[in-house]
Structure formats: structure tokens, C-alpha cells
């Protein structure tokens, strides 16, 4: 039964009571079952008594069934959805400080421009870039920056929201200019 489907990435979105210790409970539960959390992000919703937690966990279907049930069992967890089972939009923001010696500055600036990344801080030897996008886009940007030397990287962790529109995500992308910013989960890594 176990291991029929290979492990894959799951994005879980949780609505939880905005109370002391809730995150510790969630993290503790997942740790106690021996699963690793790839990323986590937490913030208040429009209702200040409710927080949203976005968790990224790797697991096969058997593992995920248990994780979802266990999370649901926590009294302070109001709702759990595995977004991976439906259409969704994901984003992550990064701040990355990259070596930018004079010969490379123009090239890094061009890469940043292509990725719609902003330069938010600079010195004579470094750029600090701010970029947002889905996992593939962020990964692609980092791959392109890596040769210059990444000095520091800070990631927010993934956030995601379910898609309610019936318009196919590929069409919506074209409407939005196809820059990848509005892309759905299968959007191309680098837009042109």
C-alpha cells in the first residue's frame, strides 16, 4: 500500500485559530510523525481571530492522507486544504544579495529586469534584489545568479491561493501579458 505513488510536493493551506502556540502544535505534530516541512508561512486573515498557514510538505499519497487527517484533528485547526489537488496560484518572495562587480553589473541588472526583480539595495560590489514568483521562476532566477556568487538569500516560504476562475490558467496568462507573474502552477519558468 505504501509507496505506490512516489513522494511529491504538496501545498497545504490551513485556517487556524490566531492563538498562542498554534504554530508549535502544527510543527510539533508534523515532526512527531517524522515528516519534514519544506516551508511555512503564517499571517492573519481578514478576520483577526483566524490565521492562515501555508505549509509545503513532501510525501506520497499515503503519508499525505495521514498528515491531513492529523492536522484536521488539532482542535485549533479550522480547515485544511491540499491545494495540490486543485488549480492554484503560488508565490514566494526572495531577497537575494549577489556579488556585482563592475564587469557584471549590467548583466545582473538585465537578468533582474527579465525576472521583474527590483534592486532594493546596492553597494559598489553587490546588488540586493527583490523577486517574487512561483517555485520554478525563483529557482531559475537563482540558477542564473549563482555564477556571480550569491552572498545571502532570504525566502518568505511559499504562499498559495486556490483558483476559482473557470478560465483556463494558460488563457489567463496571455491576458495578463504572459510575464509569468500571473502564471499558474505549470507556468514556464522564465518568461520572455
Amino acid at each position: 500500500m505504501k509507496g505506490q505513488i512516489p513522494p511529491r510536493r504538496h501545498i497545504l493551506t490551513l485556517l487556524v485559530e490566531n492563538q498562542v502556540g498554534v504554530l508549535a502544535r502544527i510543527a510539533g505534530l508534523i515532526a512527531a510523525k517524522g515528516y519534514n516541512i519544506d516551508s511555512v508561512s503564517v499571517g492573519e486573515t481578514m478576520d483577526a481571530s483566524v490565521s492562515r498557514v501555508t505549509l509545503v510538505v513532501h510525501g506520497d499519497d499515503w503519508v499525505m492522507e495521514q498528515v491531513l487527517k492529523q492536522l484536521n484533528r488539532l482542535i485549533e485547526v479550522i480547515k485544511v486544504v491540499d491545494l495540490t489537488e486543485e488549480e492554484f496560484i503560488e508565490r514566494e518572495m526572495i531577497l537575494v544579495r549577489v556579488n556585482a562587480d563592475p564587469p557584471n553589473r549590467a548583466e545582473i541588472f538585465r537578468i533582474a529586469d527579465i525576472f521583474r526583480a527590483k534592486v532594493v539595495d546596492l553597494t559598489h560590489r553587490t546588488y540586493t534584489l527583490e523577486a517574487t514568483g512561483d517555485e520554478d521562476k525563483i529557482q531559475a532566477l537563482l540558477e542564473l545568479l549563482r555564477p556571480f556568487g550569491i552572498k545571502e538569500l532570504v525566502r518568505t516560504g511559499l504562499i498559495a491561493i486556490g483558483r476559482v476562475s473557470k478560465v483556463p490558467s494558460s488563457k489567463l496568462e496571455r491576458v495578463a501579458g504572459g510575464d509569468g507573474e500571473e502564471g499558474a502552477k505549470k507556468s514556464p519558468a522564465v518568461a520572455t
Binding site: V20, G21, G28, K69, I75
Partner: protein, 575 residues
């Protein structure tokens, strides 16, 4: 009028119907309030917080009413951890109220501990009360959460300032609304229909019931199901008593040390109806080999118990009692001559019983532990006793030879296997039923873990009859070591033993020793007829082993390959 938080707490407990609190007092909790003076609450002072918590478990299991524990801060709480974990795995509804020192946490004050952090892994839920006004709501929620759904322990941490603060008491809430907690009671009607269809087609079905039947008070419904369908029924260690052991379709306990034919039924069945049980590894053995030959129906209120280890064909999430009622309705509509259809299956089971009976041979000289336990159970059956056990060989034998007519009469630590459970569980049950016969069948190892509770039994005149099945070693550990290791001496014993008779007398209880087989009957009768707490030291054969057995990690089918169990050849440890 304004009253203190401590007074509000006591009022809230009375509103929740609490009549007995087990505890160990300390500096901060209750802040001078006295549960006994203005409130109809009996406070039982135990000698250790773990014991108080186990006692609350015993109280809950025996009565069905949530057990209440009150302990102080710091070590008072950390001492509860074992019992809280025990209650969590065995689904015991208890509420533990803990004192906490300052209003602001994290100062590392004297006797401060991160209580809620510690409790996170060993409770169903835990609360910290930050404001005195919150006490009634949190107490209401705590008792609701403990008792509903899959029952479990709930901890409420009460900082001293919250208990001391005076506020207006506005009454106890009438209802609870917790948006993240809404246990599903009714099973899915479509799933129940599918289950009924599978049962109606089965040729060799078996019911495998667990503690969930007891927790849901669904014994009557189980009985009805068995009567309608004539399906042979086995129960787990936690489920004993859900079906009278005199019932013709009662198979006995299953699992690692379960009866041969009960396990054999699970291997040969074409349908397993699992009710309120959780496919524990002590039942399934190697889970991937379990139940692959048959269909499985699984009824449980806890969705996480379903499909955890074993693939299930018809999962039904819901309260066992609600689901069984609906299932019985469906099955009554089925036109089938159940008894005739299962004649062959029943015959096969009878044949297994004859081939591999549960037996022991009491010869002259040394008392066989099985004989002592069998006699205790036989001689007390007419009193409909509540029986608590410790953990180890004596527990297995007591379960194998168990005779009981009703649910909530069998108290044993299953999931966690907590040695020392017997004394406190018996204490809790006896506190609930002061006039009933409560026995503690314990080992010489386990009884010494919580022996201090003899004082509590004497203090409160709780006439628990304890039988220490004394083999001068940790028998179960010795048995396993003997199987896996050839080294001598074994770390499980021999152990120096205190004189249990003198010890009982020193505590103010009555001590009796039984050393010869011919004295067993008279000794047991004397113990039952002696008023007050009694400790009986039953000196038994040291080298006796629990059989049959499925080795840990092996598949359940491995029991088949083992030759017939011959517990009378005690020198041959395993086969």
C-alpha cells in the same frame, strides 16, 4: 458579587458534574479554596501525580464519567506526563488541572515548567487560562473535548494570578462552539449500506472489536450485531467486556498473546469487521501482511485511525454506537439463514479450539501463575468485579482467562503498557464504586512502581484486593530476553523482593501470602472476605512463559507455523 478564580473554577467543576478529584496539592493551585467545604466534591489525595492521573483514568473507564485531576506546578505536572500519554493512546477522558506560578510565563520561577509545551505531545488538547473571566468557558470546552469524539486527556494550565484574581461570576456556559472541532457522530449511510452488503455476502466473517466500543457505550449494539449475524467475535485488550465472555460466539482476545483460534480467524476470514479498534501492531503483527486475503470494514470515530497501517475496503467514520445501530437496522432486513450459512465456519473454529486449547497444568509443588489468575477470576466472577491489571505476563494471563459479563469492568494499560497502572486504576474505580469488588491483579515488578498508593487506599478506606503474581523477576522481559539472547544473567532479574505481607501491614493494610497450590482457593476467598485493602503475595513459578505468542515484527500468520502451544512444558520457553 466578585469571587476569586479558584472559586469560579470549583463552581465550574460542579457545573460539569465533577464529584471526585484525584490530586496532589501544592503551593499555587486553588489559592486557598477548599473543594470539600462549600462544594460536593471529594478530593482524593494521592501520593504521586502520575498515580492521581492513572486513578482518574480508572475512574473514567469504570464509570464513563470524565476523570478529574488537580496537581500543582512544575514537577507536579511533569510527573503526570506518563499517565497523560497513557490516557492519550488508550483514549481515556480525563481533565488535568495544573497550577502555574506567575501570571507571566517564562520567568523560570521556582517550580515553573513549560507545561503546555510539555503537554503538547501527550494530550488531546491543552489550554492556558490568561484571564479569570475565561475559566468557565475553558472548563466547559475542556470537558467537552475530553469526552467527545475519540476521548482523550485535556490539560488546563491555571496561573496563580488568574486563580487569585476576583471577578464577577456570570454563570456556566450552556453550550460550546469550537469551530475547529466537530466530531462526526453519524456514519455515512451509503458506507453503512456497503458494509451491510459485504456482511450479507461473507462466508467466514469475524468481528474484531476494540476499546472504542466501550468508550462509545456500544456493547448492547455489538451484542445485537452478533445475535443477528452470528459472527464470531474477538476483542482487543482494551475491548474486553464489550461482549460477555460466556457468549457462545466469544473467541477471546486476539493479538500478540491472543488466543490461537482468535488470531487464526483473522488469518482465514474473508471479511474482518473492525469496530472501534485501531489495527495496533500488537494485533496486526507485520501490518503489510495483515488482512490481504480478505475485505475489511473499519468503523471508528477517529479518521486518523482509519487507513493508518492497513488498507480498508469500507471505512466508516462515526460514533460506534450510532453506526452499529444503523448497521443493525440494515442487517435485520437481510434475508439469510446466518446460523446455517456459518455452520462450517463455526465448526472450523471449534476444531481449532480443540487442537490448540489454552491450557496449563498445575502439578504438585509450585503454583502456576495461570492457575492462580484463573482461580482469582473464577472465584470472583459471581461478584461482577472490576479488575485492574499491571503490565506484563500477569496482564496477558488475566486477559486470556478473563471472565466478565459487562463493559467497564476491565482496566488495563494497552497502548503505552505502563507498569504500575494497576494500583492507581483500581484506586480510581474503587473511589467511584466504594461498595463494589475491585481487584488489582499485578506483578511483583509493576506493583512496586506505584506501591505508595497503598497509603491512599488505607487513608480513604478503599478496599481494593491486590494480588501480586510474584515470580521474583520482570517475567515478560525475561521471556523476551530468553528468546533473543543467550547471555546470562538476564537483566530482568532475579530481583530482590520486599516482604509484601509485612509491607502491606506497615502501610496499615492486610497482607496474605499464598505459596502452595492447595492454598490458592482458600487464600483468594480469605482476601475477598477481608474488609479493607488487602495485598496477597502469590508466589508463583518463575520460568513460566506467556503462550501463544506472535514474535514482535513477525506476520500474524507466523503463529500458524508455530507448533501447538504447550504452556505446561514450562522449561521449553517458546516452542
Amino acid at each position: 458579587m466578585k469571587i476569586t478564580g479558584a472559586e469560579i473554577l470549583l463552581k465550574s467543576l460542579v457545573e460539569e458534574g465533577v464529584t471526585t478529584i484525584f490530586g496532589h496539592p501544592g503551593g499555587v493551585i486553588l489559592h486557598g479554596a477548599d473543594p470539600a467545604s462549600d462544594h460536593p466534591i471529594k478530593y482524593i489525595l494521592c501520593r504521586h501525580e502520575q498515580v492521581a492521573t492513572h486513578a482518574a483514568e480508572g475512574y473514567y473507564k469504570a464509570t464513563g464519567r470524565t476523570g478529574t485531576v488537580m496537581v500543582s506546578s512544575g514537577s507536579g505536572v511533569t510527573n503526570c506526563v506518563t499517565a497523560l500519554t497513557d490516557a492519550l493512546v488508550d483514549s481515556m477522558a480525563i481533565v488535568v488541572l495544573t497550577g502555574q506560578l506567575p501570571a507571566v510565563m517564562g520567568w523560570d520561577a521556582s517550580q515553573e515548567a513549560d507545561v503546555v509545551g510539555t503537554a503538547r505531545g501527550c494530550t488531546k488538547h491543552s489550554f492556558v487560562v490568561f484571564k479569570t473571566e475565561e475559566i468557565p468557558r475553558i472548563i466547559k470546552e475542556a470537558y467537552f473535548i475530553a469526552r467527545s469524539g475519540r476521548p482523550g486527556p485535556v490539560l488546563v494550565d491555571l496561573p496563580e494570578a488568574v486563580m487569585a484574581d476576583c471577578v464577577a461570576y456570570t454563570g456556566h456556559p450552556k453550550s460550546v462552539a469550537i469551530r475547529g472541532y466537530n466530531p462526526q457522530m453519524a456514519g455515512h449511510p451509503g458506507q453503512i449500506k456497503r458494509a451491510a452488503e459485504l456482511i450479507a455476502q461473507a462466508r467466514r466473517p469475524v468481528i474484531y472489536g476494540g476499546g472504542g466500543i466501550i468508550h462509545a457505550d456500544a456493547s448492547e449494539e455489538l451484542h445485537e450485531l452478533v445475535e443477528i449475524t452470528q459472527i464470531p467475535t474477538t476483542l482487543t485488550l482494551m475491548g474486553l467486556g464489550a461482549l460477555p465472555t460466556s457468549h457462545p460466539l466469544w473467541l477471546g482476545m486476539l493479538g500478540m498473546h491472543g488466543l490461537y483460534w482468535a488470531n487464526r480467524c483473522l488469518i482465514d476470514a474473508d471479511l474482518i469487521v473492525a469496530i472501534g479498534s485501531r489495527f495496533d501492531d500488537r494485533v496486526t503483527g507485520k501490518a503489510c501482511d495483515f488482512g490481504t486475503q480478505c475485505k475489511i470494514i473499519h468503523v471508528d470515530i477517529d479518521p486518523t485511525s482509519i487507513q493508518k497501517h492497513v488498507k480498508v475496503d469500507v471505512p466508516i467514520v462515526g460514533d460506534v454506537r450510532c453506526v452499529l445501530r444503523e448497521l443493525n437496522k440494515e442487517l435485520r432486513k437481510v434475508e439469510r439463514n446466518w446460523a446455517r450459512d456459518f455452520e462450517e465456519w463455526h465448526g472450523q473454529i471449534e476444531a481449532w479450539k480443540k487442537q490448540h486449547p489454552l491450557r496449563y497444568e498445575q502439578r504438585q509443588g509450585v503454583i502456576k501463575p495461570q492457575y492462580a489468575i484463573d482461580m482469582i477470576l473464577r472465584l470472583t466472577e459471581e461478584y461482577d468485579p472490576i479488575i485492574a491489571t499491571g503490565v506484563g505476563q500477569h496482564q496477558v494471563w488475566a486477559a486470556q482467562f478473563y471472565r466478565g459479563r459487562k463493559p467497564r469492568r476491565w482496566l488495563s494499560s494497552g497502548g503505552l503498557g505502563t507498569m504500575g497502572y494497576g494500583f492507581p486504576a483500581a484506586l480510581g474505580a474503587q473511589a467511584a464504586f466504594p461498595k463494589g469488588l475491585v481487584l488489582n491483579i499485578d506483578g511483583d515488578g509493576g506493583s512496586q512502581v506505584t506501591l505508595s498508593e497503598l497509603s491512599t487506599l488505607v487513608d480513604y478506606k478503599l478496599p481494593v484486593k491486590t494480588f501480586i503474581i510474584n515470580n521474583r523477576c520482570l517475567g515478560m522481559v525475561r521471556q523476551w530476553h530468553q528468546r533473543v539472547s543467550t547471555h546470562q544473567p538476564l537483566p530482568a532479574g532475579p530481583m530482590h523482593q520486599p516482604d509484601f505481607v509485612k509491607l502491606a501491614e506497615a502501610y496499615g493494610a492486610v497482607g496474605i501470602r499464598i505459596e502452595r497450590p492447595e492454598d490458592v482457593k482458600a487464600g483468594i476467598e480469605k482476601a475477598i472476605n477481608t474488609p479493607g485493602p488487602v495485598v496477597v503475595d502469590v508466589v508463583v513459578e518463575r520460568e513460566e512463559n506467556c503462550l501463544p505468542a506472535i514474535p514482535a515484527g513477525a506476520a500474524i500468520t507466523d503463529i500458524v507455523r508455530a507448533p501447538a502451544p504447550t504452556p505446561d512444558k514450562s522449561s521449553q520457553a517458546w516452542h
